[in-house]
Amino acid sequence: MIAEQQLLTFLLDILAYFAIYLAVNTSLNLEYGLTGIPNFGKVLAVAGGAFVVGAIPGRVLANYLGILQGFKAVETNPALSVCREPLLILVKIKPKILEGMDYIEDNSVVGDCIRRVMANDPMLSVTLLVATVGLAAAVGAALGFVASYPAIRLREDYLAMTLLAMGEFLAQVGYLESNLVGGTKGVFAPDPYGWLGEYRITASQLVILLVALIFFFYMWQISLSPAGRVLKSIRDHEVAAEVLGKDVVRVKQKVLIVSSLMASVAGALWAFNSQSVIASNYDRFTWTFWPWVMVIIGGAGNYKGILLGTAVFVILRRTIDTYRYVLEPLIPFSLVWLDRLLFGIALIIVLIVRPQGILPDRPTPAIQKPYLRKIIETIRQQK
């Protein structure tokens, strides 16, 4: 029974990681696989979305409910009756919170109170979820536009350098600036699934999976559509696309806006899922390099490749992570570095030996295959 429970947790864990990375990889595939934009700053949009979750809804709610005015305000507000009891104990330890609370400094107290309020209010929870994700999407789109603006007209290496620098900038600021998302200590994220009780984790994971599948379906359909062929023409030969009247810069900008929006929504949902935002979790390795590894190993441009790459990578990494305790005593260093080392080597080998990935991208027919066969049949019969 316990073993089954463990297995189930393990599978759900893999599913959550699969879903989140599917969403991020889908957005990267839209950029790199279809359009050829080397976005080495994927972390920018993901962290942007997560930081929105950490910085904004909690503050808004705390202000709206008046928690920040201190315990006296909490006592008089009937909506906050749920957090009276725990606060009563806390006041004895830390009398300062009688007068007022600081959002960052007393983050755990404020967070706990908000969580209690939200657990009893499904309406508020859902509204908050939708509003925050919408805001994160807008912020992500804006980040995608702004970050790429200086270099979008230049050669791809300038764009790559600029995007990497922008992503690194946001990650560093998030880590060092304590007013944004608490810096090194992190902040709580409001829990919009709290009212579901014990099903909250499952619900959150299902929401991520659903969103990831929507993104994936969108990317897949784009890749089959005329718009997808425009993107691929830009990837394969920018000048040729320009000669045929496509505004390459505009198309690239649009792609970056849409894909950053996707990544940002993914980041926001991930922050809600993990119930906290710690800036050091949003680093270049986790949210830029791993997606690149997955997209390239799976096969950039091919939607099946993205699914395969994500699945293989996530299962491998989660398995290593879960059995960490078996391996850890055997090696004299942290296991984190070992999987970076191994996947770095794997990526280089794949790039040299099979640069198109496991499932290479193939030209998509303008007409679906069954129709094509039917047309060929009719032509043959006419002869």
């Binding site: 603006y149 300038y158 600029t162 600036e177 770095g344 080597i345 790039l351």
Partner: protein, 311 residues
């Protein structure tokens, strides 16, 4: 002589940044792909300096010589075993960039593994270490304060002499300018590129090793410095090694002094936004002068603004 410590920070940082930028530009000229692992060469230098001075008790300025060869050797591994196979298979620019990123992943991992091992085995701190005490004093100043700018300027002068006055340098320039033509004249282009990668890696490591004598060292110092290196290279134009040195010095000084100035005039919380300075410099350069300072028509600008004549 009393010197404001911030000036020391700025001089050392700017000198070493210009050496790193020089290396990045040198490799960019050969393969036309920015090396995303270049920052980590500085980290290699840092960790080597820690090992040589703390473990072997070597003089820091003698250690610079082996460190140059270590960095150069790692750069050769990247060029010969990663980039050259990719180039010979006609891989795209993006694939080559991803390969350098993957190499950075490997370097950071190896350096961190080394740091873990180092701390466990020798009980010496390897993250956030300060080894200023290993430095010698010259003219009652910390040695690195004199050595860093001297080395940077000497490096540029030597490179200038080599590139312009020797057969090797002329061959290297020819191989960069026009590889097929240089090849037809009997210059071994691939070997020339190999040399420039070796020099770039070596200079990067030496820069990192001297940075370790002044700033707090850690195995991923170079990765975080990558923004500054890229910004300096872009300001310098990415196509010109002298532009790279100017860009490195300019941005190094602006980054350190500008951060302090912002902290003083707006508030200490501004210092967190230090990376904003190289990013803004990068964005402004890319928007207004994408080919860098070296390519700006200064005389024309002067005439336009001062004498009012059209550019």
């Amino acid at each position: 002589m009393i010197i404001d410590p911030i000036i020391r920070d700025a001089v050392i940082f700017a000198s070493m940044l210009s050496l790193l930028t020089l290396g990045l530009t040198l490799t960019y000229l050969t393969t036309k792909v920015p090396n995303f692992a270049h920052g980590s060469f500085a980290s290699i230098g840092m960790m080597s300096m820690l090992t040589f001075t703390q473990l072997f008790g070597l003089n820091p300025y003698l250690s610079v010589i082996p460190i140059f060869f270590i960095g150069g050797g790692v750069a050769l591994v990247l060029y010969l075993f990663v980039l050259r196979p990719l180039i010979s298979r006609e891989a795209s620019f993006v694939s080559q960039m991803v390969a350098t990123i993957a190499f950075e992943l490997i370097l950071v991992a190896v350096l961190n593994i080394y740091a873990d091992y180092f701390t466990q085995t020798f009980k010496i701190q390897s993250r956030g270490f300060l080894i200023r005490r290993a430095d010698v004093r010259i003219f009652d100043q910390p040695g690195v304060f004199i050595a860093a700018p001297t080395l940077a300027i000497a490096g540029v002068l030597i490179l200038f002499m080599v590139l312009n006055k020797t057969r090797f340098g002329v061959g290297l320039r020819a191989a960069i300018e026009n590889p097929p033509l240089a090849g037809s004249l009997g210059i071994n282009v691939k070997r020339m590129y190999t040399y420039s990668w070796f020099i770039a890696g070596g200079l990067g490591s030496v820069a990192g090793s001297l940075l370790a004598l002044w700033f707090q060292g850690k195995p991923d110092y170079g990765s975080t410095m990558l923004i500054s290196i890229f910004a300096a290279a872009i300001v310098g134009g990415l196509q010109n090694i002298y532009g790279a040195v100017i860009g490195g010095y300019l941005l190094g000084f602006v980054e350190i002094l500008g951060t302090r100035q912002l902290g003083l005039s707006i508030g200490p919380w501004m210092t967190v936004y230090r990376p904003l300075i190289p990013i803004l410099a990068m964005a402004i350069t890319l928007i207004f002068a994408p080919r860098g300072l070296a390519a700006v028509n200064w005389r024309g600008l002067f005439r336009y603004f001062v004498k009012g004549v059209g550019v």
